[in-house]
Symmetry: C2
Subunit: 297 residues, 2 copies
């Protein structure tokens, strides 16, 4: 479950409510494309904006429509107690794993974050992915904290925020993490522009934003890297550079939502307010890139 492509579907909203038809269609597309796992309610799935009830429903829908593809469910929340409720709901939905980022409002200390993972792993019946995303959580993990948390029961994978762009340096970083972490801890790269470099450098998986909406190009990169065709993975990722540029400019969520809205996979204004999504001119750029790169599946 923690190797290959983990695809992160959007949770599109329509008039402020989850668009269940759009969401289940996205999940079914991923199952048909044969991604290796589906991570629903990740940052791309707007988990932080949804109520417990909405999240429980989305988790159930994801498992129901994923066929035999394992589903990982994001369970992050600001308060430990709420994370534990979400873990319960993920278990009930039949999730194969959970993803947990240390959300913060007040800045958290390393001890706070270790305690969070300690409390949550104690309640777990499925494997956990440690989600390091300083751009949204504003918490920065140290290697020491990675090591301490990875030693907790049920911790199966570490989702890291990118790797060095230079392939040699990326490989050194991945080897360094391997030395640090218990054997068997799966390393997953995120930040889509780093997907190919991360896989080529020895990461087990790519936790992919674009893979949740456009599984085909993400799978092509993943399968090339897995087959040892590093040059092929790199060149396919380089073909998507105009998309990575848009991600860098506007954030991956707003761009991916615009792609999904353009392709009819999500209704207009599918992101939770106050996030307004891209302005008209920026949407036109997205459409141009989709057309130029023939991004449809």
């Amino acid at each position: 479950m923690f190797t290959g492509l983990s695809a992160f579907p959007l949770t599109p909203l329509r008039d402020g409510a989850v668009d269940e038809a759009a969401f289940t269609n996205l999940v079914a597309r991923l199952a048909t494309a044969r991604v290796d796992s589906i991570t629903a309610l990740g940052s791309t799935g707007s988990y932080a904006y949804l109520t417990r009830g909405e999240r429980a429903r989305v988790a159930r829908l994801a498992v129901e429509h994923a066929a035999d593809v394992p589903v990982i469910i994001g369970v992050g929340a600001l308060r430990t107690e709420h994370v534990l409720e979400l873990v319960e709901d993920a278990h009930e939905a039949g999730a194969s794993g959970v993803l947990l980022a240390p959300l913060s409002y007040q800045a958290l200390t390393a001890d706070d974050v270790y305690g969070l993972y300690e409390d949550v792993t104690r309640a777990l019946a499925v494997p956990l992915v440690v989600y390091d995303n300083p751009g949204t959580t504003h918490f920065t993990f140290t290697d020491d904290l990675y090591q301490a948390i990875a030693a907790l029961p049920h911790v199966a994978s570490l989702k890291i925020p990118g790797v060095p762009a230079d392939p040699a340096r990326a490989a050194i970083r991945v080897a360094q993490l391997r030395d640090l972490l218990p054997a068997g801890t799966a390393l997953g790269v995120s930040g889509d522009a780093f997907g190919a470099t991360g896989l080529n450098a020895g990461c087990d998986s790519w936790y992919s934003v674009i893979g949740g909406t456009l599984p085909r190009p993400a799978l092509d990169i993943t399968r090339a890297a897995q087959a040892g065709d590093h040059a092929g993975a790199t060149s396919q990722s380089e073909c998507l550079a105009p998309l990575w540029d848009l991600f860098a400019r506007h954030g991956s969520l707003r761009v991916t939502a615009a792609v999904a809205e353009h392709l009819g996979l999500a209704p207009p204004h599918s992101l939770p307010l106050p996030i307004r999504g891209l302005a008209a001119a920026d949407r036109a750029d997205v459409v141009e890139v989709c057309t130029k790169l023939r991004l449809t599946v």
Copy 2:
């Protein structure tokens, strides 16, 4: 309502639930001390960690126990729709005003934030305080955005995150904001170490963390500044320097919770997990400072 001392009480938890007796006692102390307003469910009141039900209950208790002191209620949430629900609850509780920070998970644009205030002010029946707290929201207001939002209906006050430490530069900054904002927009300083300097520089109010737990020293500073005794306000604030140092080191919330726990105003471990509160050695420093400064009321 938007002049003088606005005191921010903690919302102490006991075994993961709001300790209503401790909270109402804190509010009643503030009413007895004659603070100028009480802002419940601010950052100090842990609003971001509480459920809608808990927040509605805390808002009602605050108004009930505040005697005739006006109560402002924090209504921030990640999703606009949830803010609107909280506004409804604040109205029903009898709040005299609301406080709104642009909480973020995905980084917000200026347009997103303007849209948030536009949507919320449209639903308001009471005045609103714009809450600029980049340390927790990770959003940075520009002066242009201040200006645009301050022009919206119901926007009555701007809570700014400190002023320059130098009194002359602080006065220039406050004058600059006065020029920028509609006449009558009340300016409130926050960051307790800046309280005296902000009031001396012409701010209308001090939105105070420590004032919510220890109203006496905060009121002394405020009344001195209001009477034009700038030197007195400054020297009283300087007496509290050991406390401001602890705030700088650990954050005002953890230190204030430790003060309240030490004084028996909150039960042990009164902060919402995953925030563990101060370690034993740091608590000892807090107790030492409280004793040395005779901080009890």
